[in-house]
Every structure is written in C-alpha cells, then in structure tokens.
C-alpha cells in the first residue's frame, strides 16, 4: 500500500502508484470500464468541478499540434451539488478511491464546496485546482478556507510555471499532498477557422518540463508529491517515481492509447518492473555540473521561493 497524502487519520492509501489525472476517465470511470482493468490503477480524480454549473466552451476546442494537442473545453460540469447528488451512489460502489478535483474559485465557494464533498462520505480526498495566476497569498487564503471545516486530505494541483514557490506555500498552509503539475497553458491557431484558442497542452514533450519541476519540488516537499504531465510509457512513469514522487497521474495517454495506460499500471504495480534504458539511478549531481557564485553586491533579497520568510525580508528591504 502506498500512502499518497501526508499521514493523518484520513490519509489516502492506494494499491497502485498509477492514478487517473483529473478528467481523464470521467466522473466515475465508466467510459473506461470495458477498455481497462480499473483495479490495476490506484485512484480516480474527477473532472474539475466548479461551485455553480458551467457550460462547454463555444467554437473549436481541440487544436492538433506536433506530437500533442491543445484542448479548451471550458470545464463543463453541472456544479458541485449536482455532481455529488448524481454520483454519490456510483462513488460508493467504485473499486477505486475517488478524489474530487475542485476548482479553486473564491475562498467562500471552496469553503462550502469542501463541506458538500465531505458530507457525502464517499470521497477519499480533494484535489484543489488553482489557476495559473494564483498568488502565494491567495493560495494560502484558499487553503485556509478549505481546511476550515474539512478533515479530508486535500492535495493541491499546482500550475506548472509556478509550481516551485506555490508548492512551498501549499505545504506550509496544510496541503496534504502536491500534484505537480497541471498541464501548461498555451495559445494555438485553429486552422479551420483561423481563430486563436487558449487552452491546456498535452503530449509526450510535456514530460521534460514536468520532470524538471518535480525534481525541484521534491527537494523541499515533506508531504507526498504526485507527478503528472506527459507520461506515455512505463519508463516515463518510473522516471518520476525515481525522482521522488509517490505516485503518478496519467492524462492524455489514457485517451489516445488506453492499452499503453494499462501497461504502465501493470508494469509499475508489479515487482518485475523493467526499465529499457540503462540505469535506475537518479544522478543528481551529474545533471548540473556548474557551481554558481552568489551575486556579491546584493543583500539576501526576497525571492519567489522565500515565501515563508516574506514578511521578514520585506522589513529588511525597507531599512
């Protein structure tokens, strides 16, 4: 059994380190019940759910890209109340622990939504999805609101670009796990209409960016890190586990190659895991061979990463 949230009374344990990322298998896994052996996976994260219902985006929603694609669905969902009502019974019978992905809108909505989720008593935990421009203080306020009346484990799904500083804030403010990271956002032109579409990016090349960020978050993380982004082979998944992640989430590979998704789960859950490249070792020091001299004329400055000491540093800066 693998513990994927920090050890508290309600901590989530899974039998496989391979989970379904938010929205990849629908609200209850039913789209893949006939295609995949669901019991080889560790848990299911629901599609992003907002407080109020949301309609799908209008216009083109998918732009194919070299080795990947951009998707903009508009996060359609019937709102948290309706989702819990509709799926409560199915979640209760689910072979996989259900983790609800809650979109972090305003703090008061988060505060109410977590209570709705907890009351249902069929959800294993919450993955809080914060938007890309979330500031460190907004995140701490959001987490405070979420923690107020909720004993369920709360993981935070971090945006790729700011995962390093935000992860530290999340951990400091009571997150039970860090999901690194949400797919990067981009803008691409739909060739049929000529329109620019903003959305999330998927494809195997996301992996290199995520692996680097995961490697940096695990340096300070005291709560479990779950890696997500661009995983398309068992070796991809293993790279993240070797880097220090407790589990991985698969995303678009489930859609485009369901059979490969199952192979990843089978390979990573088993004892006879096989790596096709030469070494297992995470050769930390071999990656970065240059040591850097600190900028000599600068005092210790506030830094995106020094968030916990922000107030002190600010004081110093003003003197």
């Amino acid at each position: 059994m693998i513990e994927i949230t920090s050890s508290r009374k309600n901590s989530i344990t899974v039998t496989s380190p391979v989970l379904f990322a938010a929205g990849t298998v629908g609200f209850d896994g039913s789209p893949y019940r006939k295609l995949l052996s669901m019991d080889k996976f560790g848990a299911l994260v629901t599609p992003p759910i907002t407080f109020a219902p949301r309609q799908p985006a209008t216009g083109p929603r998918v732009v194919p890209l070299p080795s990947g694609f951009l998707m903009h669905t508009g996060l359609p969902n019937p709102g948290i109340n309706r989702v819990v009502r509709d799926y409560e019974k199915k979640w209760k019978r689910s072979v996989l622990p259900i983790i609800v992905h809650l979109v972090a809108e305003a703090p008061h909505k988060v505060e109410q939504a977590v209570q709705i989720i907890e009351r249902s008593q069929v959800v294993a935990g919450i993955e809080l999805g914060v938007h890309e421009q979330t500031t460190m203080r907004e995140l701490s306020t959001l987490l405070e609101a979420a923690r107020q009346h909720c004993d369920l484990p709360i993981m935070v799904q971090l945006p790729l670009y700011n995962a390093v500083p935000l992860g530290e804030v999340a951990q400091y403010n009571g997150a039970d796990g860090l999901v690194v990271a949400a797919p990067p956002r981009g803008t691409a032109r739909d060739t049929q209409t000529g329109r620019l579409i903003g959305g999330r990016l998927y494809g195997p090349w996301v992996k290199a960016q995520t692996l680097r960020v995961v490697g940096r978050v695990v340096q300070y993380a005291e709560v479990p890190v779950i890696a997500s982004g661009g995983i398309h082979t068992p070796d991809d998944a293993r790279d993240f586990l070797t880097a220090g992640a407790k589990a991985v989430q698969l995303d678009s590979v489930v859609w485009t190659q369901p059979h490969m998704a199952e192979m990843i789960a089978t390979d990573l859950s088993g004892i006879d895991a096989t790596r096709t490249t030469r070494t297992y070792v995470w050769q930390d020091d071999e990656i970065y061979s240059v040591s850097i001299e600190p900028p000599p004329t600068l005092p210790e400055l506030p830094n995106l990463e020094d968030v916990t000491q922000q107030a002190d540093v600010d004081a110093e800066w003003k003197d």
């Binding site: 929205g23 990849t24 298998v25 629908g26 039913s30 789209p31 893949y32 006939k34 295609l35 599609p47 309609q55 799908p56 216009g59 083109p60 929603r61 998918v62 194919p64 890209l65 070299p66 080795s67 990947g68 694609f69 998707m71 669905t73 359609p76 739909d190 049929q192 209409t193 494809g203 195997p204 678009s252 489930v254 859609w255 485009t256 190659q257 369901p258 059979h259």
Partner: protein, 242 residues
Amino acid sequence: MRETEASIERIWRVAPDIQRLELRVDDALRHLEAGQSLLATGASYLREQWLPVEVKQNSLIVERRMDSSYTPGQTVSLLGPIGNAFPWIAGQQKRLLLIAYDTYPTPLLLLADKALKQSASVALVLLSSAREYPFSALPTAIEVISGHDNAVWPERDETILWADQIFAVTKDALSQEYLSELAQIVKTLKMNLHINTFFGVVNPIQPCGTGACMACMVRCKTTNKLSCMDGPAFDLTEILLV
C-alpha cells in the same frame, strides 16, 4: 467499444485526393452501423476518425484523404465502434435527403449504401467545396445534386418537401451557423421542424471517443450531449442552435 488491431489489406484511389482502405478487422467490428466510426492511430498524436463507407463479410472499407500514406499489410490500432447508428429505420423513411456542405459526404455514404439496398430513394446535395467530391465514387443509384457556395441548390424546396428524412454533414467549425440556416429553411417549408426529420451529423475532433474528455460536447436544449456517445446524428429539434 474495444481497442483492437486491424490490418490494411488493400489500398486504392477513388479520386486524386481520396483513397480507400480495405481493413481486416476484429470480430467486434463486423457489425458496424451507418453513423458509427473508428478512431485509428496514425501519423499524428491524436487518433484519426476513420469513416466506413462499406461493410463486407470479413472486412471494412474506409475512406481517407491522400495526405497520409499507407502500405498493404500495415497494422493499425482501432478504438471503436464510436457513436450510434443513424436513426434511419429501413422500410420506414423511403425518401432520404443527404446534404454535404463544404466537406466531403463520406460520413453519409454507408447510410446511402444501406438505404439503397433497402430500396429507398436517396438524393445527395453537394454544396460549396463538397462539389469537388468525385461522382464516380458514389453509388450509381443515388441522385446527385450539385449546389452552390451557400444553402442554395436547384429545386431546393421541392427536394426538401419530397424527403422523409434529412441528414446534413458540414465542416465542423461551421456546423452551428449552417445548420441553423438549413433548419430555418426546413421550418418554413414544412411549417415546422418535426422530431426525427432533420439531423445534423456532428463529427468534431475526438481526443478520446469514450465520453471522458468532453471535447465533443454538443449543447442541447435539455442536457448537454457528447458527439462520441450520443451522436454523431443530432435531431435539430433537440440541439441548441446559435
């Protein structure tokens, strides 16, 4: 729905830019209905939607543009069947009007084939770039009408009044506006839009085909539906048109 392997047995061109592939498929795909499709692995990351134009005893024939090249013996992974049979009932709707606007009529050809075999009458209207589709690739028993760049074709009102059922396929990004326009015309001519009469065939890019990703969602009057699960044909009385 299953993920299966198929092998490409035969490849031939039906026009300079269109090829057909004969596939030996898994038993699970032997009974594909008109309207259903397959998601095949290809050169790009996302699976391509492969549309059957003929279902044989042991094989399927699909139609592809010439922009990809295939070799006989090549194996592809197929996810499917995707979607539902068109709601055409053999023997019931005897006069079928098919419309292709600014896109090839490929999604409608298996329906045409089945309907003709059941001695229905089939008319196919080709509008805008659909007019480039080669007549020679169509069954001879079909009545082909070459229209204009917009919703206009010769004897349009007559053909609409003649038809028991209409299926229209349009270029994805334009479907909304164009379907609205056609719906308006039909409404006026037939005094109203009746249920089970006029269907839009909606085939957007489908990342999953399983109902998971929600990229193919179609806004409907009662509840939102998914093209891959509830489509590809949507009754125009049901969907929310712009």
